[in-house]
Symmetry: C2
């Protein structure tokens, strides 16, 4: 006998009420005056108002209707006069599926700090804020797939455990079944004998699926990955996670301009989809952000509201400038002249967060795509631009900088010319013999190609307005923290 006979509250709220029999199941958010239950089932940020006939309800049952309790309620759906909503449910039968001791339940019907909720991450998705954040996260994730599938891209699973440590994108976590206590088998020279490890060699958690993605692009043309990636960096900031999700499309026959066009269209698509599908969640998050920023001095508050900002990003082309132009803008800027930047500005530097924020938030006031970075500060696989002045070699790299977030996308046209790629790898001390599988794509049927990586959590931050990246992933992994 199937148990699930409920209608989801999102659907109930959209019904035309005619007194029809309706069954809902969900959790009590509040219970006022022994009469009005605000019931939520996670399908929408909005609660259904349930009216209890308290004269016909036992005292014992009324006492069990507490915040967090799980109820099954049958009743009639009628027009609501008072609740600010079109409908309310006149309860005819209430069953408590699961009690919630109001004294002990951590999620009280009051405002909790984000820090407190982070420590109770196993329950925080029951709050309005995190309900909205994770529904938006879900919407963006699905929009990622829709966008690429509609264009005929192939979803590609690059490996998570990898023996390759050549990408140099960051510190890696070791993956092993060997003991850590010194009893791991050793070679004659005292080094660990990884032949005895599970995979017969030293392995790590991937920092990027790009290189394997390039292999696939040389077969399918257009592919994308969407999977977890890892950095063992001791960065305790609001922008870094040790485990995060990344989307990495890779396209054969794309140059750096095609790459920029796709990335811009992609970001706008994700926002537009979420605005259409999750309007109520975004309205809530917009209000939340305004509320949060009231505590800040005027000059630290966002110039635009959340929804206003998102609308602006989908309505306006991204600014496109070269790295060299960016440096000139910075050199001519007031903060530079007034020595307000902490880091120096000159051609060749890696742009610091303060520089990126100036460009995006003060100068252009919109997302900016910066291309043509110095070769010396970028990865080996990026394509060397032709015709550079000696000493001013640049690569066909692109970073997309977003207001309030900084770098949200990093990408490049790839170096498809075998000799140039090998020369670059050798100059950067990357062992080419370990990468022969990668170099095969340049030996056999190479072609111009390009790709980029979008940090999924940074995108969710951008859309939800959450300032700490730990608040947009279900269970954050950061230095000294792997709870739940």
């Amino acid at each position: 006998m199937a148990f699930n006979t409920r209608t989801k509250i999102k659907e109930v709220l959209a019904l035309e009420p005619t007194g029809q029999d309706t069954i809902v199941m969900g959790w009590v958010r509040t219970f006022r005056s022994n009469r009005f239950i605000a019931l939520n089932d996670g399908s929408t940020p909005n609660n259904l108002q349930v009216v209890v006939n308290y004269e016909n309800t036992s005292e014992a049952l009324l006492k069990r209707i507490t915040t967090g309790a799980c109820l099954k309620i049958s009743g009639q759906l009628v027009h609501s006069t008072g609740s600010g909503q079109k409908v309310e449910l006149q309860a005819s039968h209430i069953e408590v599926l699961g009690d919630s001791d109001a004294e002990k339940y951590p999620m009280q019907p009051k405002k909790h700090s984000l820090e407190f909720l982070r420590e109770n991450a196993h329950l925080r998705m029951r709050t309005q804020t995190f309900g909205a954040v994770f529904r938006v996260r879900n919407a963006i994730a699905y929009a990622v797939h829709q966008f690429f599938q509609q264009k005929g891209f192939v979803y590609w699973h690059s490996p998570i455990i990898t023996a390759s440590d050549a990408e140099g994108a960051g510190e890696m976590f070791k993956v092993t079944t060997l003991p850590l206590d010194g009893t791991a088998p050793k070679n004659d020279d005292g080094s660990i004998n990884f032949k005895e490890d599970f995979f017969g060699k030293a392995t790590n958690l991937t920092v990027s699926g790009q290189l394997e993605g390039e292999l696939a692009a040389m077969a399918f043309g257009d592919i994308y990955t969407f999977g977890p990636t890892f950095r063992a960096e001791n960065s305790n900031t609001t922008r870094h996670l040790a485990e995060f999700w990344m989307i990495e499309p890779e396209m054969a026959f794309y140059d750096i301009e095609d790459n920029q066009n796709l990335a811009e269209e992609f970001i706008q698509y994700l926002i537009r989809y979420t605005m259409a599908q999750n309007a109520e969640d975004l309205r809530f998050l917009d209000e939340r952000l305004k509320e949060e920023e009231k505590a800040l001095p005027q000059d630290k508050r966002s110039e635009m509201g959340l929804i206003e900002k998102l609308q602006f990003v989908v309505d306006n082309k991204f600014e496109r400038i070269t790295y060299t132009e960016a440096i000139e803008i910075l050199l001519n800027s007031t903060p530079y002249k007034k020595k307000k930047f902490q880091y120096d500005v000159q051609w060749g530097i890696d742009l610091q967060s303060e520089h990126e924020r100036f460009l995006v938030e003060k100068h252009f006031k919109k997302p900016v795509i910066v291309t043509g970075y110095p070769a010396a500060i970028k990865a080996f696989y990026m394509r060397l631009n032709d015709g550079c002045e000696p000493g001013r070699e640049t690569v066909a790299a692109m970073d997309i900088l977003a207001p309030g977030i900084g770098e949200i996308v990093g990408g490049s046209q790839r170096e498809e010319r075998y000799e140039k790629l090998v020369a670059r790898m050798e100059a950067m001390h990357i062992p080419t013999h370990e990468m022969s599988w990668y170099l095969d794509t340049r030996r056999f049927g190479a072609c111009p190609h390009a790709g980029f990586g979008l940090g999924f959590e940074r995108m969710v931050q951008f859309v939800t307005g959450m300032t700490n990246i730990r608040d947009v992933i279900p269970f954050a992994r950061t230095p000294k923290n792997a709870e739940f």
Copy 2:
């Protein structure tokens, strides 16, 4: 200046040819008689026939049109008379984007063994077989998201790195930044001081996202995960991977019957979607399987062709039986009576692969859902059935067994009753104090809920007919193997 001006071959093949100017880019599969190029760009298993005007083409260029070479071809699209296809491209300009030395290119225009292709997994997706396999994999993955999103499920990212090792689903990989050589910091008692490790405690790669998924189901109602999971088991079989992708839906307000209904509908949806979207890939794989099975004796061949089997699965209800019924069927079976089973049959055993295959392939000849397994052989979180005979306690577990694959889904209604769950955990020596976050779902607003796990690669095997699981994931991770 954007480079990508091509039309994908999948689209070109569907065009009405009127001599229109067309640009294609792709890789040479074959080049016959200095005249006919079979060009493939990975968008479809089918090649576009390109006709070269060899009298107007230099000898030097003709020589570079080799298997695997990457070409950009402009020409006119015309009716084809001979190629078995509606259209062909009369080349007016051919540019070699990337050469491929025919002597050295591993992917020759001939039949390679699956073993050889596994060793060349970085290039195998350029073959017809693996092109089809990975396009089907892509289709199933997208269908997973479509299915759940249409039903309002929230896509949920359970953590990959976890400090929880209580699920007991299998051996785990350690994740660490500590040195392995014995210099890791130690406690006074000689044990490793994991406070000094990256996360401040011992961490592993997840074996399942279910427990964290249950937390989310108690907030959103219906959720699903789709992510990588890991087993450090030394199983060198055609059915096991150390790294594989799993889909784990978890639903509040579902009992075991709702769970079965959803799982059956889900599997049928995935197959129906793929049959509609990837008909040509499946036709190719159907032929490939027939060809492969020609080498087998008659009685080892599949009774149905691949497409016939898939059609049968979507057209017929799955058989539903209890474990107790399954045991009775096995005890009455010819192989049991003739002592052909390697493993004994009696109530209480874990069904072995040979038993499952008998039920599915010989007895019912269709997918079978088995429910009500003995509690003693199942996980702690499965709901104890009420009213069992003492000594014959069963749980509300379900396994879905598929022809040719065996177990493809494992699931259960979860034990939502706090006392019963804690008693079961204690009996199974699971430390309840480390799992208090999980137990909170039973303390606060518990409800009947259920879920299951679908091994994604097993599903891809089922749909593609590939007999080795290493052939349905881009880069297989297995004991002593983590190439690419």
